[in-house]
Symmetry: C2
Subunit: 353 residues, 2 copies
C-alpha cells in the first residue's frame, strides 16, 4: 500500500511534549496494521521561531507543506513571547485558510474512566460531534480603527460569511448526521442579536435541510445552546456552527464530558486538494510546559483521526480502544488525578495498541 | 418619600404569565418597606402588536417611556409569528440602545434548594456577576449582502466597539470588583481569532486595570472560559464581557447554577438619564405558554434588582430572602421538579416577603 507522507509540527509549549507520544501511538498502529508512514519534522510555527525571524514560518511554508498527505500538529501560542493574534494568524489560522481545511470536526464524548463534572452522567450519555466552520465567519483580520488614540476611537471588525463557505459546512454536517443512528442536527445561531450574518446562516440551514429529509434538525441561539450543553447533553448528535460558535462549543462540550485535556480535532479539507491537519483541542499551556506532565491523549486521539482520514478506520478504532483502556486502568497524568508523566501514559497507550 | 413611576411591559409568551407575579412581589415589598410605586401598563412590544401594526411599538414609544424611573419587562419574541431579529431589534434591543442601558448586570448564584447540574457543588460555590456590555459590539444590524442570491453571495456583518462603549463597561466592572470581598475580575476575550476588535478590548482592559490596583484581573479566551464555568465556577467573582460574550456567559452561568429559569437581569443606565430596564434572563418560551406553569422567580428577582437600583436595598434583600425560602420549602413549578403553578409560587414568595 502507498506510503502516507506526514508533516510533523510540534509548535509551542506542551505541543513539544505530547507530540512524541502522538507519534509513538501512530507508529504502533502503523506497525500493527501494516501501514507505511513517513514523517518529516518542521521546526517552525512556534513563538521562538518568531522571536528569531520576525515571522512564524518561512516564506515558502506553503510549498514545503502542500504535498503532504496530512499535518500532525501540536499546539501554538505563548502570549508572554508573542501576542496570540500574531502567533495564531501567522500559523494555525493560515493553515486552515490556505489549505482550505473548511471542516473542523470535533468529537465530544464522555469516555470510560473519566470523571464527569456534570452530575449523574454515564458513558454513552454524551456522544456527539461539533462540526465547526473553519475558514471564514467571525475569525477575521478585516476591519480597522478610526479616531485612533482619542476619546472618539471606533473599531470596526468584519465578519464574513459566503454562500460557498456556509453551504459546504452545512452539507458536511447534514451528511454526517445522515450517517448517524439518531440522524439529528442542531444549528447554532444568534439571529436575534447579530442581525445580518446569522439570519443568513439560518436561511441557508433551512435551504440545506430540504436536501436531507431524513435528518431532523433544530436550531438554538448560542446563549441557550451553551446552557443546554450543561443541562441536557444527551440530546445532541451533530452540532453545526460558525467558526466562533464552533470554537466555543468544542471547548465547552469536552469540558462537560470531563476535560478538554483529551479532546481531539481534525481540520479537514474533504476535497483532499491540500493536506488536512490534526491537533489537540487544548493549547500550548505555557504554565505546565517543561514539567513533563501534559496529558498526551488528545494528541494521540488526533492521530487516530488522522489515520481514519487516511483510510485506516480499523487503526483508528484500535487506537481509540487503547485510549479507553488506559483511561480506565491508568496510568494517568496529574490532570486526570494520577501521578504518571506524559511518556508513561503515551507508552501505555502504544502498548495497548 | 418620592413615588417611583414604573412602566410595565409584559411582552410575549410567558412574559404575560410571570409579570403579574413579579408585580405581586414588588408590591408586597413596597407595602412592607413603605415605598410609593406607580405602575403604568403598556400593551405593545410584543409580536401580536407587530402582526396588527407592522411594527413592534408605536412611533412615540421613546416619548411615552422616557420619563419613567424604570421599565419592568417580561420577555419578547415568538419566532413562529415574527422572526426574532425583527421582534428583538424592534423592542428590547432598541430600549437598551436608545435608553443607553449600557450595563447588563447578571448575578450568577447557586441558590439554596436548587439542584445543581454540576457534581459536588454547594451553596456559596457559585456566586459571581456577569457584567455585559449592552449597547454595541457584535450586536449590530450594520452590514449587507453582495452578489445576493448567487453562488458568489457574500455577507458582511460589522461589529462596532468604541472607546467610550468599552471603557465605561470596564469601569463599571472594575468598580464592582473593587467593592467585592475577592476583588477579582475576569475579562472574556477572543483576541487570538477575532483579530481587530478583541485585541483592542484587551488593550483597554489593561489600561483600565491600572486605575484599580487593588483589583486582581485576568483574561480568558471565550472558548476556554466557557469550559472553566463548568469545571471551576468557584474561581469567578466579576466577569466582564462584550455584548455577545456576555450574552453567552449569562445563560451558561445560570445553567451551571441549576437553571436559567430563575436568573434575573438589570439593564442599567448608571447615569440615570433614562429609565433602566429589569427583565428575566429567560425568554418568552412559546412552548409552555398558556399552561400557567412558567417559573416566576426570575421575574421576581428582577423586580428585586429594580428596587435595589431605585435605592431600596433592604427591600431587595428581603425579596431575595423570600425567594430563597420558597426555593427551599416550595411550592415549586414543574421545571424545578414541583407541581405548583405560576401564581402559587408567586403568592408564596409575596407572602414570605
Ligand atoms: C432575546 C435576545 C436578543 C437577548 C440577547 O441576546 O441579548 C437575550 O438572549 C438576552 O440575553 O437578554
Ligand atoms: C488558538 C485558537 C486560535 C484556536 C481557535 O480559536 O480556533 C483554538 O482555540 C482552537 O479551537 O483550535
Amino acid at each position: 500500500s502507498k506510503t502516507h507522507r506526514i508533516a510533523v509540527i510540534a509548535g509551542d509549549g506542551i505541543g513539544q511534549e505530547v507530540m512524541p507520544e502522538g507519534l509513538r501511538a501512530v507508529e504502533a498502529a502503523a506497525a500493527k496494521f501494516g501501514m507505511a508512514l513517513e514523517f518529516t519534522h518542521f521546526d517552525w510555527a512556534h513563538c521562538d521561531y518568531y522571536l528569531q525571524h520576525g515571522k512564524m514560518m518561512p516564506d515558502d511554508w506553503f510549498a514545503q507543506l502542500k504535498g503532504f498527505d496530512a499535518i500532525f500538529f501540536g499546539a501554538v501560542g505563548w502570549p508572554d513571547k508573542v501576542p496570540d493574534h500574531i502567533s495564531l494568524w501567522g500559523s494555525l489560522l493560515k493553515f486552515r485558510r490556505d489549505f482550505d481545511q473548511y471542516v473542523n470536526l470535533r468529537p465530544v464524548r464522555l469516555m470510560p474512566g473519566v470523571p464527569c463534572p456534570l452530575a449523574n452522567k454515564k458513558v454513552g450519555d454524551i456522544d456527539f460531534y461539533v462540526v465547526r466552520e473553519n475558514t471564514e465567519g467571525e475569525y477575521s483580520a478585516v476591519g480597522g480603527k478610526m479616531y485612533e488614540g482619542t476619546e472618539r476611537e471606533t473599531v470596526l471588525q468584519e465578519s464574513i460569511f459566503t454562500r460557498k463557505g456556509v453551504d459546504r459546512i452545512l452539507k458536511y454536517a447534514f451528511e454526517l448526521a445522515q450517517k448517524r443512528p439518531k440522524k439529528h442536527l442542531t444549528s447554532a445561531t444568534k439571529s436575534n442579536g447579530i442581525a445580518i450574518s446569522m439570519p443568513y446562516w439560518d436561511e441557508r440551514v433551512k435551504e440545506m435541510g430540504k436536501a436531507y429529509p431524513e435528518v431532523k434538525w433544530d436550531q438554538y441561539h448560542i446563549d441557550i445552546l451553551t446552557a443546554r450543553f450543561v443541562l441536557s447533553p444527551e440530546r445532541f448528535d451533530v452540532v453545526v456552527a460558525s467558526n466562533l460558535f464552533g470554537d466555543i462549543l468544542s471547548d465547552l462540550g469536552p469540558a462537560c464530558a470531563g476535560t478538554i485535556g483529551i479532546a481531539p480535532s481534525a481540520n479537514l479539507n474533504p476535497d483532499r486538494t491540500f493536506p488536512s491537519l490534526f491537533e489537540p483541542v487544548h493549547g500550548s499551556a505555557p504554565d505546565i510546559h517543561g514539567k513533563g506532565i501534559a496529558n498526551p491523549i488528545a494528541m494521540i486521539w488526533s492521530g487516530a483521526m488522522m489515520l481514519d482520514f487516511l483510510g485506516h478506520t480499523a487503526a483508528h478504532d484500535a487506537m481509540v480502544k487503547a485510549i479507553e483502556k488506559v483511561l480506565v486502568e491508568g496510568p494517568r497524568t496529574p490532570d486526570m488525578g494520577g501521578g504518571a508523566n506524559t511518556s508513561e501514559v503515551g507508552k501505555a497507550v502504544a502498548e495497548a495498541i
